[in-house]
């Protein structure tokens, strides 16, 4: 269906963003979108593009002439204009500069980015008054034709709904709203009803006085700790209420245990909403004013642990409130929390957006010895979005507002110890607290864009205006992990793959740093003094059953490095925004003591051509923070560093961001700190997706669904994923097509949570040709939506035309049996047979092309001329035709000639699937016919050992992956044999929306030839939108005496005539019936319509038939409903034979595989799901089948619809199983679905698929290839072989043994 995406293509933001960043479009042709606003830096990359600028700071813009060469020598006017979104720009492109001096005029030079950096706004030039919002958005425009309008050739930062830059005011200063404050006790009856102890009924309420003019406002609930009171958080209450929040701090039952505090917070939140809605609070001001879908919990000390336990209770269902649920908790912020780790009340934030405050000088919750106050453990248990903010020089009671302080005195015990105190007044800590809380909450609750800068940029570089930058004691560090379900790739978090030479993502790690060790982030002797036996001294992120791990190493006055190889499927860094990692200085280590300052080093990326680009983590100020040197023990203070990926391109860096093969950290005198000890963790790539983001996974504009024809509506599975899975309930999603919400009849399966996604099956009914927009909108929280334009496509099937190229490996290894080392030719013959079958599955209006690949001296001139002699066109792309114009026989003849050249003219690797892909792509794209669907089936048995490479530059230049990613060709990939490059083939299929399978020289009940042919048939069904409703393996058992003496059969077959029946439903447009045997001319089949005594007669175009010695294929238009039958005449009942019938049907069953989950070494989980629907969901189907393991053993599986996470809700028509695997290698799935339609009619469907678990041994150069004829050892021969059985292939006397 990819062709349809192109046919109706409309630019999407993501695609444009990619183009803007990495492929600047000619300025003559287009408006160029790029980042422009930010701050100059003193060192490479010389400029930081940002989203937020304090109103008291200057604003600069910069553009790199090496990335945007068209701007060189242009004189442009630089405008700072009020922000507009794309549609507003379309109707109003007038430029009105908002700075005091008007637009700057500047001639851009070719020198470098420094020479093209311009100051465009002085402090307070631009308004930052956003009311109760935060940040005033502006777009930056380089008006290079000086037309005073945004027009072709101009450059803009901020044309989308997100502004180019936001001017922000002091987040530590109060907002514009007056605040009403109430103190009260909940009534005894209300407290009792909600389970609040009589001692803790008090609430302190803050809200905007002017609340009547507001829509519903978010709610912030605060719980205190021991020694604190419910009314000690007025600084937070007033601050947030002045920005339009309802804030209530409550008395907290903290003495008994944090678990009691948890119940108090749960109950107070519930009771508050209840009482506000009844009008019992604030004179009824709050009735209807609380947005209960946006709740923030803040807790202090034991209350800080309490709010986390509270969420855990919502998460595990042991507490069920009346007025809100788990999904409504948008953020938890724990201030200096305890962590008592009591059984049954573990402070586990699970998936909530979690933020942790730590006071580095805290002597109450010390974080030091013992197991009750190491607060970072709570942070590290959070599984999704998480932040940590450490305030050096701060004590425990400076986060609240003690009575004594309010009375003008100081706290009698600030619970503080350490140098560089920020007390004794709590003013400084409060300004840090409030200045950070506002953007933190705005980010999570409102999706505020500039707020993200406060969470992610180092404090040295960016902080609230109200927090002094002149006081060197103010040291704040941030740890931030984007936990979105999509848009992130963790390269190494040290949680799996224990070897120091392998990252958790499975790729290689190299280093020459010293004393390197991976392990749990745990000070193992609880003594925060450095000793060699405690390599993670000062680390408190994990203890006992906590699991956080990292790596620690050092370097001493020498240049050293630590390098990660990048896995093949994520080397395109263009799809990410930042490289991010967290790091801490190893406390008290001699190197840390020797360099008492922030540690700095270089982050370097290297592409496949060896080009590199480096950015120092201190370029924008900061680094890995110097630990706070308090009196008794220093913590490892983790701090996140982020490097913007596009910055690596600055000033003509030759690095190719589309193919980064390694990230290296360079340490030592030439790269920053001369010596250091570093704890490192969580290296990841991130797109910085906001948690309030929905994304449609299926269907998409790039990969639309076939939604039907003008007379027939197909069922379409819609898969949605939320950046944060629990913030969107399936029930709150509204599905629209072309702007019209679907009615109940158009939703076959209601939205339901399946794994981490939401699934629904829609049934739009028939429509005219064309593609339609799909939109998913959330009603709670409101305003969040995802859309995929042109993702539901209709086209009358009769006119669907396919251009299909078969790319076939013919290297010498294809002749050799990988496990036995016998020169059997079996793989080659199987590939030929399946290809020929596929040719005959083509319709006359389809085109067929054949490409083979083997590096060889094709013309025997004694040399290999590349790339011509890597692959060749065996049959040009040709219309299949029919009758006199039929080209299919010619194509099949060409296939017969595809054989390995056993004299390739050299000795060495022969396999270059890339050359075949390029060849196939070239012939498919030779004619610009967007209405034709393009498809390649690539079959290979080897590793990619010759250029052009899929994901690396090689002898022929760039990798080919990007061009296929940008193309609209579906590539299905098939590996045959245990040495095929499964990861490569899987990535090719994933990138091109195809499907990958490795048939492992025979899968299931058949061996390779039959299974391969069956798989090609399955691919043909997928492409045509057919459902396989009949499948039968083997010659029908029922033997009967043939008395008909049919003249159509030879006499030798008459004794083996057998019959099988299958049901055909009414109103099918067409039906495909195919019969296939693995041996030529051994089986003859006759097909009978319902009630007919004579076989069906070919009557094109109503009934067509393609025949071959191994198979016959019928295409029958408007087949007669009822019981069809076929009669098989065979002299051999043991021949491998299968029969299929398929058609586009109203009832659909479709299979989806999720990525394999690695639980631990040797333990893998494969979630397998099937959805079944007609006009409604189809319940009570029975789904059984088998999975053939790499060792040949078949495991029986059953898919159930019982409400487990793998299968969504019970009885929703979505069935699933989590298959547990233990052996690396290739698995084949074969399933039968049977049941009754929603109208009670029996049905069957047959589905197959496969998956691979990486880690199986592969031979780079296979036996046979490059004429390597060294036989494999016996051990190799029998590797992964469960048992040997005899079988026959191709001819009746051709008997083999096989696994």
């Amino acid at each position: 269906m990819k062709f349809l995406a192109k046919q109706f293509f409309k630019p999407s933001f993501q695609i444009l963003a990619f183009l803007w960043l990495f492929n600047p479009i000619s300025a003559n042709a287009q408006i160029v979108d790029t980042e422009l606003a930010g701050n100059a830096l003193l060192e490479y990359p010389f400029f930081e593009y940002v989203k937020a600028i304090n109103e008291n700071a200057t604003m600069e813009i910069a553009i790199d002439p090496s990335r945007f060469p068209e701007i060189v020598d242009q004189v442009c006017e630089i405008y700072v204009v009020n922000s507009k979104n794309e549609s507003q720009w379309e109707v109003d492109n007038i430029l009105l500069d908002q700075t005091r001096g008007g637009p700057e005029t500047f001639r851009f030079s070719s020198a470098n980015i420094q020479a093209n950096t311009i100051l465009i706004a002085n402090p307070f030039d631009l308004s930052a008054d956003a009311g109760t919002g935060f940040g005033v958005g502006y777009d930056i425009v380089l008006d290079c034709d000086r037309s005073g309008t945004l027009s072709s050739g101009d450059y803009i930062d901020g044309r989308s709904s997100e502004s180019g830059i936001y001017m922000v005011h002091d987040s530590a200063s109060p907002g514009p709203e007056s605040v009403s404050v109430f103190d009260y006790n909940l009534s005894d009856s209300v407290a009792t009803r909600f389970g609040i102890p009589p001692t803790d009924r008090a609430q302190h309420l803050f809200y905007p006085t002017n609340i009547a003019t507001f829509e519903q406002l978010p709610l912030v609930v605060i719980g205190h700790g021991v020694g604190h009171y419910y009314d000690e958080y007025a600084h937070i209450g007033n601050h947030l209420a002045s920005y339009g929040y309802i804030v209530v701090s409550h008395s907290n039952d903290v003495w008994v245990a944090p678990s009691n505090a948890a119940i108090t917070t749960l109950a107070h939140t519930d009771a508050f909403i209840d009482q506000a809605e009844t009008g019992a609070l604030a004179g009824g001001d709050l009735v209807g004013k609380i947005d209960t879908s946006r709740i923030v919990w803040i807790g202090h000390s034991r209350g800080g642990e309490g709010v986390v336990i509270a969420y855990n209770r919502l998460f595990n269902g042991t507490y069920v409130p009346e007025n809100y649920d788990q999904n409504d908790i948008r953020l938890i912020s724990s201030m200096l929390p305890t962590d008592f780790k009591r059984p049954g009340s573990i402070a586990n934030p699970n998936n909530v957006n979690y933020h942790l405050w730590t006071a580095a000088g805290d002597t109450d919750v010390t974080g030091l010895r013992g197991d009750r106050s190491q607060t970072f453990r709570i942070h590290d248990r959070a599984t999704h979005f998480r932040h940590s903010t450490i305030v050096q020089g701060a004590g425990h009671t400076w986060f609240n507002n003690e009575e004594s302080l309010r009375m003008g005195g100081f706290s009698p015990n600030p619970w503080f110890s350490g140098p560089c105190s920020l007390g004794p007044s709590d003013d400084i800590v409060h300004s840090i607290l409030l200045g950070h809380l506002l953007p933190l909450i705005k980010y999570y609750v409102e999706g505020n864009v500039p707020a993200a800068d406060f969470l992610t940029r180092q404090y040295e570089s960016f902080r609230p205006i109200g927090v002094s930058s002149a006081n060197p004691c103010i040291v704040v560090t941030h740890e931030h992990r984007n936990g979105a379900q999509f848009g992130n790739f963790v390269i190494d978090d040290y949680q799996t793959q224990g070897s120091t030479a392998v990252s958790s993502s499975g790729a290689q790690v190299r280093f020459n740093v010293e004393n390197l060790l991976e392990g749990k982030l745990d000070d193992n002797d609880d003594d925060f003094t450095w000793v060699v036996t405690d390599p993670f001294n000062g680390a408190t992120q994990a203890q006992d059953d906590d699991v956080s791990r990292g790596v620690v190493f050092d370097w001493t006055n020498e240049n050293k490095f630590y390098e990660w190889e990048i896995p093949v499927n994520v080397r395109d860094f263009g799809q990410y925004s930042f490289i991010s990692f967290r790091a801490a200085q190893g406390t008290q280590h001699p190197n840390t003591l020797a360099e008492r300052e922030d540690l700095t080093f270089d982050v370097m990326v290297r592409d496949s051509s060896g080009n590199t680009s480096s950015i120092n983590i201190g370029a924008a100020l900061g680094g890995v923070e110097q630990p706070y040197e308090r009196d008794d023990g220093w913590w490892n203070e983790m701090e996140t560093s982020r490097v913007r990926i596009s910055d690596f391109l600055n000033n003509g860096s030759a690095v190719n961001l589309e193919n980064i093969v390694a990230i290296r950290l360079n340490f030592g005198p030439d790269h920053g700190s001369a010596r250091g000890r570093l704890v490192l963790d969580e290296l990841m790539l991130t797109q910085d997706i906001h948690p309030n983001t929905l994304k449609i996974l299926e269907p998409t504009q790039i990969s639309p669904a076939f939604a039907g024809t003008s007379i027939f509506g197909n069922r379409v599975l819609v898969r949605v994923v939320a950046a944060h899975e629990h913030y969107f309930s399936p029930e709150t999603l509204v599905i629209s097509v072309d702007g019209v919400p679907l009615n109940a009849d158009q939703i076959a399966t209601n939205p339901t949570r399946v794994g981490g996604e939401i699934w629904t099956v829609i049934n739009l009914g028939p429509r005219a040709d064309g593609c339609f927009d799909l939109k998913i909108e959330s009603t709670r929280p409101p305003g969040v939506m995802a859309a995929e334009v042109d993702s539901l496509c209709y086209e009358n099937d009769e006119s669907r035309q396919f251009d299909r190229v078969l790319a076939i490996d013919k290297t010498n290894s294809m002749n050799w049996d990988g496990s036995s080392g016998v020169n059997s030719g079996d793989k080659m013959r199987a590939a030929q047979a399946a290809a020929k079958f596929y040719v005959d599955l083509s319709n006359p209006i389809d085109k067929i092309g054949i490409v083979s690949f083997q590096r060889r001296d094709e013309n025997d001139d004694g040399s290999i001329s590349e790339p011509e002699e890597l692959s060749e066109i065996e049959f040009p792309l040709t219309l299949a035709g029919e009758g006199a114009t039929d080209q299919r026989e010619a194509a099949k003849s060409a296939i017969d000639l595809i054989l390995p050249d056993t004299s390739p003219g050299f000795s060495g690797p022969e396999t270059s699937p890339g050359s075949a892909l390029v060849e196939a792509q070239t012939i498919l794209n030779a004619e610009a016919m967007p209405e034709r669907e393009k498809n390649i089936i690539l079959l290979t048995d080897g590793l990619e050992n010759y250029a052009p490479f899929w994901n690396e530059a090689g002898a022929f230049g760039s990798p080919i992956r990007p061009s296929f990613r940008a193309d609209n060709i579906r590539v299905d990939t098939i590996g045959v044999g245990g040495d095929a490059d499964d990861e490569l083939l899987l990535d090719i299929a994933n990138v091109t929306d195809g499907e990958f399978i490795n048939l492992n020289e025979g899968s299931g009940s058949f061996f390779l030839l039959s299974r391969l042919s069956d798989w090609y048939k399955k691919l043909d069904e997928d492409l045509r939108g057919e459902q396989r409703f009949f499948y039968k393996e083997g010659i029908p058992k029922k033997l009967f005496e043939d008395t008909s003496n049919s003249s159509s059969l030879s006499a030798r077959n008459q004794h083996f005539k057998r019959e099988e029946k299958f049901a055909v439903e009414a109103d099918l447009d067409w039906m495909t019936v195919a019969f296939h045997a693995n041996i030529d001319d051994v089986v003859k089949v006759e097909l009978f319509q319902p009630g007919a005594s004579a076989p069906i007669v070919v009557d094109a175009p109503r009934v067509t038939q393609r025949v071959d010695p191994k198979y016959s294929v019928y295409r029958i238009r408007s087949p007669k409903p009822g019981e069809w039958r076929y009669v098989v005449h065979s002299e051999d009942s043991k021949v491998e034979f299968f029969a299929t019938a398929s058609a586009p049907t109203e009832l659909m069953a479709d299979l989806r595989l999720a990525p394999v989950v690695t639980k631990s070494k040797g333990k893998y989980l494969m979630p397998i799901r099937i959805w079944v629907a007609d006009n409604k969901k189809v319940e009570s189907a029975k789904i059984t089948g088998y999975i053939r393991r790499p060792d040949g053993v078949k495991d029986t599986i059953h898919l159930l619809d019982v409400g487990k996470p793998v299968d969504g809700s019970a009885a929703d028509g979505i069935y699933g199983v989590e298959y547990q695997a233990s052996i690396p290698g290739n698995y084949f799935i074969n399933l039968e679905v049977q049941g009754e339609t929603s109208e009670g009619v029996p049905f069957k469907r047959f589905l197959s698929s496969g998956f691979s678990i990486s880690g199986a041994k592969k031979k780079k150069l296979q036996f046979g290839e490059g004429l390597n004829l060294t036989k494999p050892s016996k051990q190799e021969q029998h590797e992964d072989c469960g048992k040997k059985i005899k079988y026959r292939q191709n001819s009746k006397n051709d008997i083999k043994e096989f696994c």
């Binding site: 109060p174 009403s180 009260y184 021991v226 002597t363 060197p472 300052e597 100020l621």
Partner: protein, 228 residues
Amino acid sequence: MDSKTLDLVATIKKTRIAFLIYIALISFPQTLWAKQSIQDFWKQQLPSGAEEVLYVRSFVLDKAYSNNWQKGQKNVDSGIILVLRVKKELVPATNEMTPVLYAGNLILQRLNIGDESGHVIVIVPEAFDLSKEIIWFGQPDLPSAVNAESIAIQRQKAEKSVKLLSEQQIQAVTLNEIRATDFSSLLGGEISRLILKYSPQEASLAKQWRLPEAKASYSKSATSQKAQ
């Protein structure tokens, strides 16, 4: 950020170490030491008894309340209010675990901290003979975490070192039974009065328990203020 600002920040970073040292010299690093000393004190002193009983009064409630200091919670409609003078080191206002206060095998419900006054106001959740069973501080723990077994083991040890309160002293401070409709009324009445008398530093508690109750007819009397 302009170069001037960058220079400034760089200068700040350079001077930070010197400033850190200066501040370290003038800061007061006493509290962490103090906390460790308290833990040492507990090791040496526990189990330990109350110094003196200052107030004893039985109470009866018309409506029972759920006392969650006891394992599995306990509906309490009568008990005893005590005011005890204790060693301040045993009742710090910390969020760490502190010594648990018992009457015999019962965990006492603490109503205040008493770290500054040295006076703790507690509830004995049922009838209890003060003259026959000890009032004692056990090992630091969360009250929710102790169980009958650990209490029994600790109590055995406590009985060797903790003396019974003197009967004479008990009689001297025992008042007539007090009756209240519910525990909230008791908190807002007699117990708040005790807070103000015996631990005035914690007057916030009394203020809290005496706040008006939110009702549908609750009159709007709060002040509106511009956030400061």
